[in-house]
């Protein structure tokens, strides 16, 4: 159908209201305010900054442990300690080794796990609060709108087209059909988070890849209310070992919050060999460890969520500037995988982008040449200082934990260089071994009190989507699922998805892929981990997805 799309123009368009996108918006608005107050010309307006957020609320799709290094927030909002909704300062950091029956606390907590000076926060609450500041600054914040397509122009981008709303399952317009907008902007900032759908397209189309493909992990989290006295607020622990095998990269966490709440979870790198490994089940199993079981005894599940993370670091960072465009936050690989910290780097990247954009707006020059200043600012900031030191960290673990410790120890004493620099890796989805007819494992059921099956957990993620809309998980060749994948890898989508979206339903003798799109928690694991890379996650109708409010 030849659609008439309404056109709108902004100075700056930011896709994604996470810490990176909001920091960019707020910092830019502040710079503009100062600029105008000083009477400088041309006069700029914060109202010409548009931020798109696909979630129903700011923070609805924000999920992280989280422990935040306040360095960036302190620059952005100097009185943050009084005004930001920080849960609690870290009081004690522990690194624990789990075996099946016992746990052992490493006497001197290794530096990467030492979080003194940091805060335990709810990223959802923090971004919601930041969203309030952004709106007060006059920026136009649009909830329930996603960026569905990029508008290309020259060698770069000139804006996005938002998603069509009011289409039914069969892609036919309903009564309230509203076509997406053609939102043009002088500069578009992609702040979509890990494996952002527009970012993925841009990087592929404009060949912005770095020497390493991005490496990813999946984090599965639950928020619990526990019996009083079980854990001190501010006590944070990271666990290594059981049940994550030494050939895999991953570990657990539990962070004590105020009001007897505790954030728990497990992260696993999406580069494991067994295509039928189930990260959600691994997390549930981790909860049965005596230490965790005791912590959760008598408690109650409050919320569940899952998200992917970018582990690749410096050498997986795509080129983050094009004509009319910048990439910030997790979408741009700004995560310190050693310290598991990305919030401050995301925020800093957003602020540096804001400064770059500010200069570009003053000059009225939005070309890659001008925007290249972004990269230079990054190179001269603590983003580089921090990420450069751990540039080979994640890649060290490509052959298992022991190998990884060896390499990373050497990197620690050589400013990140180690034995091999750069350490090159393949994409995680290439790591699967074929199943060779091995029978499928029994699926995890959960006891309903301490451990849960995926459906029960998904219910607690507050996920909802309008059921009558096109499926937002585009599988380019369903034949592969039914013929090749079933033989070679046993359809890993049924296992790696933490929301039970994918199912292989029996159809006579064969199997057919069934997609329960409404369960999707927007983690992007499927887009990342599918062995044939035929799954394309596209943005569904705005407002749908999980509800991580308060999480």
């Amino acid at each position: 159908m030849a659609l008439q799309r309404e056109q709108l123009e902004a100075d700056v368009l930011i896709v994604g209201a996470g810490p990176a996108g909001l920091s960019c918006a707020l910092h830019l608005a502040n710079l503009i305010k100062q600029h105008n107050a000083g009477g400088a010309k041309p006069e700029l307006s914060a109202e010409n900054i548009y931020v798109l957020e696909k979630g129903r609320e700011i923070g609805a799709h924000q999920l992280s442990g989280a422990i935040m290094n306040p360095v960036a927030l302190a620059e952005l909002v100097p009185d943050f300690a009084k005004t930001a909704p920080l849960d609690t300062p870290v009081t004690d950091s522990a690194a624990l080794i789990f075996t099946q029956k016992s746990s052992y606390r490493i006497p001197i907590t290794p530096p990467p796990f030492n979080n003194a000076g940091n805060y335990v926060i709810s990223l959802s609450k923090l971004t919601k609060w930041m969203g309030g500041l952004v709106e007060s600054a006059g920026v136009n914040l649009f909830k329930e709108f996603g960026g569905a397509e990029l508008i290309y122009s020259g060698d770069g981008i000139a804006g996005v087209i938002t998603e069509d709303k009011g289409l039914d399952k069969n892609v036919k317009p309903k009564d309230n059909f509203t076509p997406g907008y053609e939102l043009r902007a002088k500069i578009t900032v992609l702040a979509e988070g890990t494996r952002g759908s527009l970012t993925k397209q841009l990087v592929a189309t404009k060949k912005l890849d770095n020497i390493n493909p991005q490496s990813y992990g999946i984090g599965v989290k639950e928020l619990w209310e526990v019996q009083p006295g079980k854990i001190q607020p501010g006590f944070v622990a990271h666990t290594l070992g059981w049940p994550v095998s030494s050939k895999m990269y991953g570990g657990g966490w539990f962070y004590g919050l105020q009001n007897n709440r505790v954030s728990i979870g497990l992260v696993i790198a999406l580069e494991y060999e067994d295509p039928r490994f189930d990260p959600h089940a691994a997390f549930q199993t981790w909860k049965t460890h005596p230490f965790v079981r005791n912590l959760l005894d008598g408690g109650q599940l409050v919320r569940y969520g899952a998200k992917s993370l970018p582990y690749g670091g410096w050498y997986a960072m795509p080129r983050n500037y094009v004509d009319g465009g910048l990439i910030v936050g997790d979408a741009g690989s700004f995560l310190d995988s050693q310290r598991l910290k990305g919030v401050h780097l995301a925020m800093k990247s957003g602020m540096l982008a804001a400064e770059t954009i500010f200069e570009a707006l003053k000059k009225a020059d939005y070309s890659a040449k001008t925007l290249q200043a972004y990269k230079e600012k990054i190179d001269h900031s603590y983003i580089k200082t921090e990420l450069w030191k751990v540039r080979n960290f994640h890649q060290s673990f490509r052959n298992g934990m022991l190998d990884g410790f060896f390499h990373s120890a050497l990197q620690q004493v050589s400013g990140g260089r180690g034995l091999i620099d750069p350490m090159r890796v393949h994409a995680g989805h290439e790591a699967y071994g074929k199943i060779h007819g091995r029978p499928a494992p029994e699926r995890f059921k959960g006891d309903g009190k301490l451990t849960f099956d995926r459906l029960t957990d998904v219910y607690h993620s507050g996920t909802r989507h309008d059921e009558d809309q096109p499926c937002h998980l585009k599988v380019s060749d369903l034949n592969i699922c039914a013929t090749r994948c079933v033989e070679e890898y046993g359809n890993p989508c049924q296992y790696f998805c933490p929301a039970a979206v994918y199912e292989m339903a029996k159809e006579g003798d064969a199997v057919k892929l069934k997609i329960n799109a409404a369960n999707c928690v927007h983690c992007k694991t499927c887009d990342i981990a599918d062995p044939y890379q035929i799954i394309d996650w596209v943005v569904p109708e705005g407002g749908g997805g999980p509800n991580y409010e308060g999480m």
């Binding site: 609320e57 609805a60 709108f145 709303k165 507050g462």
Partner: protein, 254 residues
């Protein structure tokens, strides 16, 4: 046609409920427009598109309900009225209606629309009480509205697949049935424009309303199930017979 739509802000449908006495803990949960009210709002907007006039979004509650009023403005309501009341959750249906009625009486309107009931309290009385307090004719469970020369022809839903047409003079109060229309999306222009639309703030004092409670919610609780499952045994035929007997004589549901 000038229309006032009462829109209530309620806890988000999927919010985990933490009970605190006779209400819930409001921290860490999201709020949204009461879904039944969104159909009333949509109906109001459609009537405005057809007949001209103004749509006013009226809401009652603490500061956070301004968000719901803004949503209504973003969808096309012309202005909003916020009755600021922090103790809103404790008001009984009559108290709520008295405040709303006072605010409505201060406006010149032809039609007052409400949703059927709220997803939190679910009293389902507001529209009918408003009609009583404002001394206006009313009708509930309205599926369709036709306006002609100062009179309305309304299609009302009854039980078991029955319907009825009624004629009603203006001004009137109508409670709109849920699901009768496809609610529109807020547009980008609408969201931007909402920022510039007026939201008047009033209070009990400024409206001059005194409220005496007529009822009290003593406490709310999760009902505990005391029953045990009785498993039937035997062949399918035997179990079927046993079940029918139990449903007839024990449970008495058939």
């Amino acid at each position: 046609m000038n229309i006032i739509v009462c829109v209530k802000q309620v806890p988000a449908k999927d919010a985990p409920l933490a009970i605190a006495g006779n209400w819930i803990k409001e921290s860490d949960i999201g709020f949204e427009m009461n879904e039944p009210d969104s159909y009333a709002l949509e109906e109001a907007l459609r009537l405005k598109e057809k007949h001209g006039g103004e749509v006013i979004a009226l809401s009652l509650g603490p500061e956070r309900v301004k968000q719901t009023i803004k949503e209504a403005l973003a969808k096309g309501a012309d202005r909003g009225i916020h009755i600021a009341d922090d103790n809103f959750a404790q008001l009984d249906p009559l108290g709520t209606a008295k405040l709303l009625a006072a605010a409505i009486a201060s406006q010149k309107c032809d039609l007052v629309l409400t949703g059927l009931q709220s997803d939190d309290h679910g009293f389902g009385q507001t529209g009918v009480l408003l009609a009583g307090l404002l001394n206006l004719p009313h009708a509930t469970l309205i599926m369709q509205i036709e306006a002609l020369d100062g009179r309305l022809k309304l299609k009302r839903e009854l039980e078991a697949g029955w319907f009825q047409w009624i004629e009603c003079p203006l001004p009137a109060v109508l409670s709109i049935q849920s699901g009768i229309n496809k609610v529109r999306y807020a547009t980008l222009k609408g969201i931007m424009g909402a920022k510039k639309k007026e939201i008047a703030v009033v209070t009990r004092e400024s409206l001059g309303v005194a409220i005496e409670p007529t009822q009290k919610i003593e406490r709310i609780y999760v009902p505990t199930k005391t029953k045990k499952t009785e498993f039937l045994t035997g062949t399918p035929k035997e179990m079927a017979a046993k079940l029918v007997e139990k449903l007839k004589f024990e449970a008495r549901v058939i």
